[in-house]
């Protein structure tokens, strides 16, 4: 295939402790380390491996978000993507809107394969890939832990609740990636320098056909109910007593 499109999202780094804003409008992002959504990073790694094995000639990374998302796209370029596209939009948007905007990019670029993470670790929605697949009338394989490309089809293994499911899908298709698929490469300094010269196109969301409004309103964001403070015990016997008090052991 000619092109692989990889969709990445800028999210709070997975190692950062999430703090809810006192006014309950969201979580604190000021001064917080941001990264590529870890599942999207796995998607990008897979795309690069497919290209390196000779099954694709170009890897394009795309993101939707504020201007700062250019940092994550640059990281994607440093990992090895050939060029990047940012759909610049400052407000938070729902997956349906994201997928509609991405479908405009798909229509323009006509990739043979679209890869993205199975979910973003901020809103945990796990919707965008599937919506995009339906909007483009193409197959989907979600939660994927193995991919092999064979001409116009792909054979994938999905991690479902009951075990490992195998699907054979016609290309073009959308694959959403799970943790076990691969281990993303580390970016080396020379690659970061090289990435600065690669193309990064910015499209204003207002220039797109997609309607960026939403029918879901976020009323509040609050911290989860705190856990009651625990007790320390001295030995196994005291542990048994404590568990029995909670009705957890007979």
């Amino acid at each position: 295939m000619e092109k692989i499109l990889v969709c990445i999202k800028r999210v709070i780094d997975y190692n950062v402790k999430i703090r809810v804003k006192p006014d309950e409008t969201g979580v604190v992002t000021e001064g917080v380390k941001m990264s590529i959504n870890p599942f999207d990073e796995i998607a990008l790694e897979e795309a690069l491996r497919i290209k390196e094995s000779g099954d694709a000639s170009e890897v394009i990374v795309v993101s939707i978000g504020p201007d700062d998302s250019q940092q994550q796209l640059r990281t994607g370029l440093a990992m090895g993507a050939d060029r990047a596209v940012l759909i610049k939009h400052d407000e938070e948007i729902e997956p349906l809107t994201v997928a509609k905007a991405l479908s405009e990019i798909v229509e323009k670029e006509k990739p043979g394969l679209i890869l993205m993470g199975k979910q973003a670790i901020d809103d945990d929605c796990s919707q965008t890939g599937q919506i995009l697949a339906q909007l483009c009338s193409i197959p989907q394989a979600t939660f994927v832990s193995q991919v092999s490309i064979d001409g116009d089809t792909a054979t994938v293994v999905r991690e479902i609740d009951q075990g490992l499911e195998t699907l054979e899908i016609d290309l073009p298709a959308i694959i959403t990636t799970d943790l076990r698929l691969n281990e993303p490469r580390y970016v080396k300094l020379p690659d970061i320098m090289k990435a600065k010269k690669k193309t990064l196109d910015v499209i204003e969301s207002s220039e797109m056909e997609t309607d960026f409004s939403s029918s879901i309103e976020v009323i509040s964001v609050t911290p989860p109910p705190p856990r009651e403070s625990g007790v320390m015990v001295e030995d196994v016997d005291q542990l048994f007593t404590a568990l029995k008090e909670k009705g957890l052991m007979s």
Partner: protein, 312 residues
């Protein structure tokens, strides 16, 4: 009153309890609840008709539903959904795979992972792996389409006898671009991490892959599943399908043992909803003790064998 449609989750001839949990969520929205069963033969529909609070079971039997292919089911669900105000699916891999395709066809925003119903159109859902809770409202003039977080709702009783209505396959186009190649179930005798009521997890403190055998032994005594922290996975002690945490599996067992796990943020995100957390670590300052319900400062290799020997 609004009409609710639940899409049944089933596997290998059995209705899954996740369906009943989704019905339980629906009872907080309406009393008018139907289940849609898409299957090859009418095996699942009678099982669905037993779930308490269900009014009708719409049964569509068709070759297209021999296997749960989301692209085949979505156009059918979307067609049936015309007569309903609210469509719910369990937030299992089945529901998460299928629901967004319905969202695309109906052109309505989907709510993922309802954890509580606060009003007819007001829901709570976890974000950041449960580190924050979002309260959201679905616009009045829109259908509600949502997945239901199964850990938040209990299974209902099975003493109902709802109407089973054999329903014609709607005339929609079923794509042929996806071929099913079977499911390989994990060979382990231990319960699945996501459904086990007790989970034993090990961290870097376990020290080696060989030492994990002790955890398996303890797990088998308790009928528990075994998980691991990212540190243990990164150290190569266990495969990464055992990883519990924000980027691994998010679980909510009744009883959770964190053995030799320091308690990194990303691990805690995966176990926040556990009923009781027992932490064992030789480092008294390990952050895991801040969230544990019961903590013991001890050497794992003395503690675990003693625990095993004292379980009947």
């Amino acid at each position: 009153m609004s009409k609710v449609l639940i899409v049944a989750d089933h596997f290998d001839g059995s209705l899954l309890t996740s369906t009943s949990k989704a019905v339980n969520c629906a009872t907080e929205i309406s009393e008018d609840i139907d289940i849609l069963v898409l299957e090859k033969d009418s095996i699942i529909s009678p099982q669905a008709s037993k779930i308490d609070s269900v009014k009708n079971v719409l049964s569509i039997s068709d070759e297209a539903f021999e296997h749960p292919i989301a692209s085949s089911m979505a156009p059918v669900v979307a067609e049936i959904a015309n007569d309903y105000d609210c469509i719910l699916l369990p937030s299992t891999t089945f529901g998460r795979d299928l629901a967004p395709r319905i969202s695309a066809i109906l052109d309505v925003n989907q709510v993922t992972d309802i954890m509580s119903v606060e009003g007819p159109r007001l829901f709570k859902r976890p974000i950041y792996a449960g580190n924050a809770i979002q309260t959201i409202k679905v616009a009045e003039d829109k259908k509600i389409l949502a997945t239901v977080r199964t850990a938040s709702f209990k299974e209902l009783g099975n003493s109902n006898n709802a109407n089973v209505i054999d329903t014609d396959m709607p005339t929609v186009e079923i794509p042929s671009h996806t071929k099913y190649g079977g499911v390989q179930s994990e060979k382990t005798e231990r319960p699945d991490l996501q459904v086990a009521s007790t989970v034993i997890s090990g961290g870097r403190g376990v020290g080696s892959a060989e030492n994990f055998e002790l955890l398996y032994e303890l797990a088998d005594k308790l009928g528990a599943s075994v998980g691991a922290s990212r540190a243990a996975v990164d150290a190569g002690f266990v495969p990464n399908d055992m990883q519990v945490g924000q980027t691994g599996k998010i679980i909510a067992p009744e009883l959770y043992f964190a053995l030799g796990i320091s308690g990194a943020i990303q691990h805690i995100a995966g176990i926040k909803d556990a009923g009781t957390i027992v932490a064992v670590n030789k480092d008294a300052d390990a952050p895991i003790f801040e969230i544990a319900d019961i903590g013991i400062v001890a050497d794992l290799f003395e503690f675990i064998p003693e625990l095993i020997s004292k379980i009947d």
